[in-house]
């Protein structure tokens, strides 16, 4: 039996050798250099190195003279664990930073911060949200990050008139429920989809775009607005499942379709292995993903394949705001992630309200409703449905293993 095992091992090694021999003779890895690889595509989009922050941006520190009861509490409700925990962590770190800065400079107003875990699961969200609404000290909430859970719980906030600003949920339908307590701190998918389409066809010069969407609320919604905006540039589409790891069938369809760009409407958990397998099969075009894909994790998990990736995001590159980036990394030992600054800004809006004496739910809700000032990332003024009036979409790309901004794209 031992002899047999040894023989098999030898056979396996021999086979491996034979096959790897073939690969070593090949030229450099496909996708290792993104420039010009896509035949006619303009993949070498210049990188943005700094953005202008609004001069009059409101900061959490305020004037340092605020007073408030020590029970005043803001809460984050959203994923702390579960598959999409990273997004939640990015957000509540941003909030924590804002509250820390506020409390440090306002000895008379120490705002407490509470976190409730929903795992990002709509069915698990009612418990924590109800609990938060029952705690009278909580006068404002940042959350919930995902569209599904926001949809499931919006009416609970509405019942008790508790204001909440979502720093990440982008489904356009959320603001059509007649909720008066829901505010969205970023542009929705109806803005992002067309921006992404224009980016692909104009900036990148893609002629044939293949669209792949996942089965999430987010992916489907964004997929629809992008499809509509792409028009004839769309040559095919496919759907994948949350949690899927093997994309070979989808990839063979893409390869046969001769697409020069792929838009993936979903999250990085599937987007990263998808791009990695796509490039491993020899795809030379561009991979474009929305904010759900834009994450450092994407680069980690897609490896070198991520060199062909571009992102669109209604989020502002927080890392380009030096004061924010350094304070954030001092707090968390990591760079700001997607939606960190949105969390920070949303908290700032509420902290500013508290500082101005709006220290119960009704007043704070009123404050947010009538808010009209710039945050670190953008100008915050909501319409009567709770949508931002002037959202911006930024483009990003992967360069030297990092996600870097390439400027506003719509």
């Amino acid at each position: 039996m031992n002899r047999k095992k040894v023989m098999t091992t030898i056979a396996t090694v021999a086979t491996l050798g034979l096959l790897l021999g073939g690969c070593a003779n090949q030229a450099a890895a496909p996708g290792a250099s993104s420039a010009g690889a896509g035949g006619g595509l303009n993949l070498d989009v210049p990188v943005l190195t700094s953005i202008e922050t609004p001069k009059d941006a409101v900061l959490p520190a305020g004037d340092g003279k605020a007073t408030c009861p020590s029970t005043t509490t803001l809460a984050y409700i959203g994923a702390e664990t579960g598959a999409n925990a990273q997004l939640g962590i990015n957000i509540f770190n941003g909030i924590q930073l804002a509250i820390n800065e506020h409390n440090k400079s306002n000895p008379g107003c120490q705002v407490a911060f509470k976190k409730f875990d929903t795992e990002g699961d709509p069915t698990k969200a009612t418990g924590p949200v109800t609990q938060a609404t029952k705690e009278d000290d909580i006068i404002g909430v940042i959350g919930l990050p995902f569209s599904g859970e926001s949809k499931a719980t919006g009416n609970i906030f509405e019942q008790v008139k508790l204001v909440h600003i979502t720093p990440a949920a982008t489904n356009p339908g959320l603001t059509t429920n007649g909720w008066t307590t829901f505010f969205r701190g970023l542009g929705n998918d109806a803005v992002q989809g067309p921006a992404a389409a224009t980016f692909m066809t104009k900036t990148l010069g893609a002629k044939n775009v293949y669209l792949v969407q996942d089965d999430s609320d987010y992916g489907i919604g964004l997929g629809a607005t992008t499809t509509a905006a792409l028009g004839t540039a769309l040559i095919g589409s496919d759907k994948v499942t949350t949690g899927q790891k093997d994309f070979s069938a989808t990839i063979s369809k893409i390869m046969n379709s001769k697409a020069d760009a792929v838009f993936y409407s979903g999250y990085f958990a599937e987007g990263a292995p998808f791009d990695q397998q796509l490039v491993a099969k020899g795809f030379k075009g561009a991979f474009v993903g929305p904010d759900g894909v834009k994450d450092d994790q994407f680069i980690k998990q897609a490896g070198d394949a991520s060199a062909n990736a571009f992102f669109t995001c209604p989020c502002i590159p927080g890392e380009l705001i030096p004061s924010f980036a350094s304070a954030y990394s001092a707090l968390t030992n990591s760079q700001p992630g997607t939606y960190s600054i949105e969390g920070y800004d949303a908290a700032t809006v509420m902290l500013a309200g508290i500082d101005k004496g709006n220290q119960d739910r009704a007043k704070l809700l009123d404050w947010v409703k009538n808010y009209d000032a710039s945050g670190l990332s953008k100008h915050y003024k909501w319409d009567d449905k709770g949508e931002l009036q002037a959202p911006a979409v930024y483009g990003y790309r992967v360069k030297d293993g990092k996600i870097v901004p390439i400027g506003a794209i719509g």
């Binding site: 702390e80 709509p122 599904g148 499931a152």
Partner: protein
């Protein structure tokens, strides 16, 4: 090969060996010493219970039920899931899990059919409620409370439809096929546009009634009325399950679980009763699903995954396979642990996993291993036996072993 190897009749050498063992252990077949040794303090407790006069049993039961109803009001400090989770809502979750576990107990505990796709029926119930009450659905609408019986009916039919082809399989083959069907139902919810995948249905209906503050009594944030509704349904279902248990139907199920071939030979239409077990379980699961959909107020395809399905099985076995009260306990515990330990959110599933292993190793029969009673008037007969046979050393009848 049946999945549940009930203690088989003892043939040949094993029989005499077992008989010798029994002699060695004091020659009290199924005697009290035996039982206590096997089931620890729970066993002693359940023995005391059996020994109680019926009036006293009722008294205790009423006290327990009243306490159960008062739980959300009392909100006992250590038990409470707050501040991480609203306690009445947590209780509601526990009641729904308990209800599902009681339903699954009919399938697994009574009939011995390992169903790993029970979530499918839960999902069917949820979707029935959602699609007939949510404004997002293109169907005709009916009041929410009507969807509960309808959910039972629809789930029951789905149970029969799925049961007829699959119940010809035995044991672990049945397990994987039901697991597959559970997945298929979930994926179909994604694929069929009318079921709206992850987009789901918002504003699922609720029972009527407005509070003084203009907020509906059955608002999805108001756990207490939901919990009372679920608890009431749970108690009714327990009664009905008890009726089934102590009847021809229950006996047929247990006979199938113990030895399917022998049951068939004794004139039990095994296939028919297996389908019935499947359908009954499905009906209860569908009802649990409809309740769940009503409270959450939002139904999409995310919750109905394999993991939840396996949680239900865990609830049944944890509580004590075949014991409906055990299933209630198991279901409540399985729902409770992750909700209770949200403060240490990262550890909750680890605690859950370890608890399953440890409990199963040290209490293989589950938390409440009491045996089901299968005769409506059995106590009369057994009492007669006790009277007429005083020679036997305290024959402990109809008790667990």
């Amino acid at each position: 090969m049946s999945t549940i190897d009930g203690p088989t009749p003892l043939p040949g050498a094993k029989a005499s060996q077992a008989a010798a063992d029994r002699q060695a252990s004091g020659n009290i077949p199924g005697g009290s010493a035996d039982a206590v040794r096997k089931s620890g303090w729970f066993g002693r407790w359940s023995e005391k219970w059996r020994a109680m006069p019926r009036q006293k049993q009722w008294l205790y039961l009423i006290v327990i039920v009243v306490i159960a109803y008062l739980l959300p009001v009392i909100n006992p400090p250590i038990l409470s899931t707050e501040p991480g989770n609203d306690f009445p809502l947590a209780l509601f979750s526990m009641a729904v899990y308990a209800l599902a576990a009681v339903g699954l107990n009919i399938v697994i505990g009574y009939a011995g059919l390992l169903d790993l796709g029970y979530i499918a029926f839960f999902a069917v119930g949820s979707y029935t409620a959602a699609m007939l009450t949510s404004p997002d659905s293109p169907f005709f609408k009916i009041p929410y409370l009507w969807t509960i019986p309808l959910a039972i009916l629809v789930a029951l039919c789905v149970g029969v439809i799925l049961g007829i082809p699959t119940l010809r399989l035995r044991g672990d083959y049945l397990a994987i096929v039901t697991l597959g069907f559970g997945e298929i139902i979930r994926i179909l919810a994604t694929l069929i546009p009318a079921m709206k995948g992850q987009v789901g249905f918002q504003n699922v209906g609720r029972p009527p009634g407005m509070g003084p503050d203009g907020i509906p009594i059955f608002a999805n944030s108001n756990g207490t009325p939901w919990y009372w509704l679920a608890l009431t349904i749970l108690i009714i279902v327990l009664f009905l399950a008890g009726n089934l248990e102590r009847s021809r139907v229950g006996r047929s199920w247990i006979a199938i679980r113990e030895d399917e071939d022998a049951a068939e030979t004794m004139g039990v239409p095994t296939f028919k009763y297996k389908v019935w077990a499947f359908a009954m379980g499905a009906g209860v699961g569908g009802m649990a699903g409809a309740l769940f959909a009503g409270q959450v107020g939002f139904v999409n395809n995310q919750k109905f995954d394999v993991v939840t399905s396996i949680m239900f099985v865990a609830a049944v076995v944890l509580g004590g396979t075949g014991n409906k009260v055990g299933a209630v306990l198991g279901g409540a515990v399985v729902a409770y642990i992750p909700l209770r330990f949200t403060a240490i959110a990262e550890y909750k599933y680890l605690i859950f996993g370890l608890a399953l292993v440890v409990i199963m190793i040290y209490r293989s029969q589950g938390l409440l291993p009491a045996r089901q009673r299968l005769l409506a008037y059995g106590h009369i007969a057994y009492a007669k036996v006790r009277r007429t046979a005083p020679i036997a050393p305290a024959p402990v009848t109809e008790k667990e072993a």
